[in-house]
Subunit: 239 residues, 2 copies
DNA sequence: ACCTGAACACCGTTCAAGT
DNA sequence: ACCTGAACACCGTTCAAGT
């Protein structure tokens, strides 16, 4: 509204024509994060891509934290809006779908996992909590349990996202692809003291062969079973 | 063993008498992290506290990531070793106890939450997985489910720890204590559009009044219920 | 073998100066 | 109102030089 369009007529190639906007900056930040990872987002690199000086960005953005949160929020917003929740699906199926959508988003944009955990304010979080919460409501979970039920699901999702981000960064830094990485961790686990770490050693095979996405879903299902039980118990007392 | 003790005889006050050791550095790092937060750990601040130059640290430590992981590992190790698991307690009770021990540790050392998520290698993770895994075994969970069961618990714990760390940092940066912080978030949630965020708005009261520790445990119990169910189902098929 | 500390490359952020 | 870009304070890390 207040923004006067003052484009430079002769747009030379990829140069911007309009004045800088917050949205432009965020979009460029997302692109930078996607292509060069968490450490790739620099005010200098960003301003170069936008063909300005680093100081210009501070007119539209408060902080690096602000920028990171905004970029994260952008991904979360489009992810949740695009999730195809069917009106006649069961609440469980819808929760699975929503969670899986987040998983895929965090898998495609590994930096989202850590940005989400450290996000300032509430905006990205709230975007996830709302649709999941509605399904929890539809599940008939009593009101007193709403908070801890969403919290549990959210914290699980955040945990997976954070680990994914860390593993991805490690792999990128050491030039390992996913199977190399799993192989290495599996081997390390096998070298642990059999007396001290019998259980961890017994996990060395599943660790090497597991499927992140499938196991993420299995965790969601595990939690969903816990919700169901508590609901039935409560309902039988009340109805 | 190979390390010759070559102390300076006249120890002036707090100066170190022996040559630098990895353990000394890690202990100092933990102290620094506890007193001045995640951003307080600097090679310069650390070397000053150890009365050396920044370069000296690199003789014993690979990296800042290495240092952070080692500090985190130190806390996790002592936490898990100190957890008083009673041999005649139920597996569920033991898992609750172990999880709660980790929660308390991450609450006392907020930086552990984020360090744990980003930890390189596996060492701190493995320390948590082993004792919890044994209880899962004791629970009679079938072998094929071991991996996803510990993963789910671990990811939940990591998620809570990460959020705690982020909230703590936010509070510290803005000079808010816990209740101020919750008040602020709760107020923000109430200002959301009632059409778009009815569920989140309905959480504004529990958000303001909730107890982190109790709710963390409630989440653990929720997950434990999910495990129980799946176990019974499997057992009835097999026995 | 272990430590010193100056130096390097690179950050986020600020701010006087411009338009 | 918005942008420029030099400058500041501060990082992690390296490395020749010392003991």
């Amino acid at each position: 509204m207040t923004q006067k369009a003052r484009g430079k007529k002769t747009s030379s190639g990829q140069r911007r024509e309009e004045s800088l906007s917050r949205e432009q900056i965020i979009a460029a930040a997302i692109e930078l994060l996607d292509t060069s990872g968490e450490n790739g987002l620099t005010f200098r690199a960003l301003s170069e891509q936008l063909s300005t000086g680093p100081g210009a960005i501070y007119w539209h953005i408060t902080d690096k934290g602000d920028l990171l949160t905004a970029a994260c929020d952008g991904i979360v917003a489009r992810t949740m809006n695009a999730a195809p929740i069917k009106p006649n699906a069961t609440p469980q199926a819808s929760i699975r779908l929503l969670a899986l959508a987040m998983f895929d988003a965090m898998d495609e944009h590994p930096w989202v996992g850590s940005a989400l955990t450290g996000a300032r304010g509430h905006s990205p979080m709230v975007r996830i909590v709302e649709p999941i919460g509605r399904q929890i409501q539809a599940l008939g979970v009593p009101k007193k349990q709403h908070w801890i039920t969403v919290s549990t699901l959210l914290n699980y999702i955040l945990g997976v996202g954070g680990r994914n981000a860390a593993n991805g960064q490690y792999g990128r830094a050491h030039g390992l692809d996913r199977s190399d990485f799993l192989e290495a961790v599996s081997a390390e686990w096998l070298q642990l003291d059999p007396k001290e770490y019998p259980f961890v050693r017994s996990l060395s095979v599943p660790m090497r062969t597991h499927d992140d996405r499938r196991d993420f879903l299995a965790g969601i299902d595990l939690i969903l079973r816990g919700i169901d039980t508590s609901h039935k118990r409560f309902a039988s007392k009340n109805v």
